[in-house]
Amino acid sequence: MDSLKTTISKTILFYALIFLALACEQKPSENTDTNSSLPALPTADANNGGLTLPDNFGTVVVADSTGRARHIAVNDQGDIFIKMRRLKEEKGILTISDTTGNGKMDTFSGFDLYTGTGIHIYNNYLYASSDSSVYRYPLENGAVPAEAEPEVIVSGFPIQRSHASKTLAFDNAGNIYVNVGGPSNACMEESRTPGSPGMDPCPQLEYQAGIWRFDANKPGQTQKEDGYRYATGIRNAVALEWNDKENSLYALQHGRDQLNNLFTDLYTDEQSAELPSEEFLQINEGDDFGWPYCYYDHFKNQKILAPEYGGDGEKTGRCEDIKAPIMAFPAHWAPNDLLFYTGDLFPEKYKNGAFIAFHGSWNRGPFAQKGYSVVFVPFKDGKPSGDWEIFATGFKGKDEIMSPSEAAHRPVGLAQGPDGSLYISDSVKGKIWRVMYYDNVTTASL
């Protein structure tokens, strides 16, 4: 190719791009040269899809209303698999793709007939879960072939109505980790009934309220026959992720509800809204995090004995030696996904740090509901190396809401794209955002 032609074409293209970027009033990006082999970043939406982000970050709304979305997975081609909480046009998993390269998903298809939360790509398979089983599908060039039959990897999880999401994580040794939530608030004899004592020992811990490990490659396992209880005493860990760099499992626990409704004499409305912490856990084999007997109080920095088990908000009792979280978040924010960022697109400070999607509270009443954001936690040596900070807000659509049904969107799932973009899913309408950093990247690589 002759170099004059290239120079001319680059010049024309440069002005054409500037003109067009201005013409459609979208966020302009610096057009410096890089030799990236990945496709160019699409231009950010003018209003960042309603989100507020740190400087130089922008978003494209890749899809606006896919339905009741839960977790998401992105393949090497940038196509997104969405696990649905409710069937969308009779499909439990949606695949959305961008065939034109403008960042907007224009092709929607779907398969299978169960609802659920977990979805993950591992060793060229797509894994997905219903509330009682884990399935997988082979991937060919990133796609699930039309004729592919799901393989049942694990079945036989207890049927439960609350905390039923079977979220998934994978290590580097061929294991799959599955969250099995506790089926109650705090194992009361009479479920969520004021003053009812907790069952002791709590029978729910036998097959629930922990993380179970299985062989990721062996079809036909059941929890009872093949499951290994990797960790226990975890009320519900919807946000569950293996950290490759640290070679360790991490999760966030949804703390218990209703301290003051159930124990009016012991807790005020304010205490009930601010306690207990949502806990960020580093999980080793055999760990016990104390549910239902204990909860974490981030004002006291202690595990406190639950009122169902004789606690009064102060006593620590049997909780003294229970493993503490590596970080504690405000009560009831509902952490629903965790992602350790390994991409190169975002600035250095984000590398290996944790993004957490908080679905937002429902039981901080009579005060305003909170959460509804994506938070960033810097990491070093397997632990947070600084305070958490809000990374993305604006999901709610208004400044203050009293009830969760007022929220326009609620962040629920996170995934990293092949170019290091961060994808966020929403459980209300199924809006999907792609978050990008625009400082030193070209808008079109030539």
């Binding site: 067009l20 231009t43 606006d64 403008n102």
Partner: protein
């Protein structure tokens, strides 16, 4: 590779980006909004409403919310639902016995557990249900202590 061809493609991509919002599949969910009729028989006892509101705040609000709209996908709304406006006996039984299993409320599926609230007195249940039946646009008759007592008796017997 022809560079001018690339330019053309790139420009086309940019134009697509500008108008891209229209590319998304329009997939809005429709929610069946059934009209639920109620027959106001008696006038709602005035004092029962503030008393019932206090009970609602303590025992129901956390799940069904101050605006009665519930928590999507988790706890159903109490606004213009068949359960709230319909047959009194069935409504009283929800509070006395709790409720679980799959139910459809205003086009949404709920499959969760509400605990029994039989620890509330007949009067408290009457007041809270009277409050619920006359709030957030609900306009149904009051529920009396005697009606709750009768359901409780038949329930236990």
């Amino acid at each position: 590779m022809n560079k001018f061809y690339l330019i053309f493609i790139s420009i086309a991509l940019f134009i697509a980006a500008c108008g891209g919002a229209k590319n998304e599949a329009e997939q809005t969910e429709t929610t069946a909004q059934e009209e639920v009729k109620s027959e106001p028989e008696e006038k709602v006892a005035e004092a029962a409403v503030p008393r019932g509101q206090g009970i609602y705040k303590t025992y129901c609000q956390v799940c069904h919310q101050a605006d009665g709209n519930g928590v999507p996908g988790m706890n159903p709304p109490l606004t213009q639902t068949e359960w709230v406006l319909g047959e009194k006996e069935r409504l009283i039984k929800v509070v006395l016995n709790g409720l679980n299993g799959e139910i459809e409320i205003k086009g949404e599926i709920y499959n969760n557990v509400m605990a029994s609230h039989s620890f509330l007195t007949d009067k408290q249940i009457a007041d809270v249900l009277t409050y619920v039946r006359s709030s957030w646009g609900n306009d149904a008759s009051e529920i009396s202590e005697e009606e709750v007592a009768a359901v409780r008796a038949s329930n236990e017997g």
